[in-house]
């Protein structure tokens, strides 16, 4: 159960509350927090905003979202040297990232892709998925 793709229903279940938390952190209207918006490029998120809403999501949903979780999950079992090289994703690294961030429109991925630019891909849905995964893990533990 915890390894399969997060379903649309699971995302929709967390989205309203998550969007409100993200809007609060970003200082924008909740309507602007569309599932597919780029948090950085469309909503102007800065690193402290990520810190802010991740903390808010953790508290609101009682889940843990460890720092660096997205990169770690995207990389999976691929050794770090095969995932990135000199600050850029390798071809295989990029494949992994595309697969993991399946919610992000394909045309937003660049090749070559700088590791530092990866956060620009993140959308509200990316974080809704993280919350949904956290909720699954909580249920599995219970």
């Amino acid at each position: 159960m915890t390894t399969s793709e997060i379903t649309r229903e699971e995302i929709q279940a967390v989205y309203p509350k998550a969007a409100k938390i993200m809007a609060d952190a970003l200082g924008c209207d909740v309507e602007q927090v569309r599932l597919d918006a780029s948090l950085i490029e469309d909503l102007g998120a800065e690193s402290i905003d990520f810190l802010d809403f991740v903390f808010g999501l953790e508290r609101a949903f009682k889940v843990k979202i460890p720092r660096g979780k997205i990169m770690e999950d995207a990389r999976g079992d691929l050794p770090e040297a095969e995932f990135e090289e000199k600050g850029h994703l390798t071809e295989r690294g990029l494949q992994r990232l595309r697969a993991y961030l399946s919610e992000v429109p394909a045309d937003r991925f660049r090749s070559p892709m700088r590791v530092a630019d990866i956060p620009k891909l993140f959308t509200p849905e990316t974080f809704c998925k993280l919350v949904a995964r956290g909720l699954r893990a909580t249920k599995a533990d219970a």
Binding site: E46, I48, L51, D52, F55
Partner: protein, 252 residues
């Protein structure tokens, strides 16, 4: 006329609050009607005394035994406080110690203990607290630094390095947290009449006083007033500052 510091009802966390400057800070804030919790490492009797004195004066003060070098324990204590009070308005990073000796005589433990407490402890507690302040877009952080952070003092390489780090930490964090309207400042005391500085004061009292423009040691209360000011609403527009409370101390 300035009469209301805005501190009544504020939730305040002070590290190293059982003695010295920390205790004076705790008592000053409690007297303002703030909801004060302090951490202490090992002097349970002194901590109990602070709590009892607060209770006798009708000012509830809470204390928790936490070694600030223990990141996990700090995080848990901060969570308990946030849970109990719903927020944290003011953090005073005061816990600190000295292990003075010439560099050639400093043991590894003297260096580690001072840096881990004076710098590591500030990281441990602040990291846990800022998340709550960021979420509320409000907060005031005051770090207790020292004159040693900017002026050389014999036998104080470890302590000076730790306090120089605190000044730098203060400025960097002020930049980081300004977008969330959280201010970060430091108070740098000179030689203050506390247990911590007894050896300095007793060892070379006249010599040291000769370097202080006001020709006397400071009191813990005098440092606490500066902390009070930086935590009050009167300092809303001050951030990234190191406020010296040292009687005009000049070191060699």
């Amino acid at each position: 006329m300035l009469t209301d510091s805005g501190l009544a009802g504020k939730v305040v966390l002070v590290t190293g609050g059982s003695r010295g400057i920390g205790r004076a800070v705790v008592e000053t804030f409690a007297a303002e009607g703030a909801d004060v919790t302090f951490l202490f490492r090992d002097n349970k009797a002194a901590a109990d005394e602070v709590v009892a004195a607060g209770r006798a004066a009708g000012r509830p003060i809470a204390a928790e035994q936490v070694d600030v070098r223990d990141a996990q324990a700090c995080a848990e204590a901060v969570e308990r406080l946030a849970e109990r009070c719903g927020r944290i308005d003011v953090l005073v990073n005061n816990a600190g110690l000295i292990r003075d000796s010439l560099l050639g005589h400093l043991g590894e433990d003297d260096v580690r203990m001072v840096l881990e407490t004076n710098v590591g402890g500030v990281f441990n507690v602040t990291r846990a607290v800022v998340m709550h302040m960021i979420a509320r877009r409000a907060g005031k952080i005051i770090n207790i630094s020292s004159v040693a952070g900017e002026r050389g003092g014999q036998g104080q390489t470890n302590y000076a390095a730790s306090k120089g780090a605190i000044n730098a930490f203060t400025r960097a964090l002020a930049v980081e947290l300004a977008p969330r309207r959280i201010t970060v400042n430091a108070v740098a005391p000179g030689v203050i009449d506390t247990d911590m500085t007894r050896a300095i004061r007793e060892g070379a009292s006249d010599e040291v006083k000769a370097r202080i423009l006001l020709r006397r040691f400071g009191t813990a209360a005098e440092v606490a007033y500066a902390v009070w000011f930086l935590a009050s609403r009167y300092a809303d527009y001050i951030t990234g500052e190191v406020l010296h409370v040292d009687g005009g101390f000049k070191m060699e």
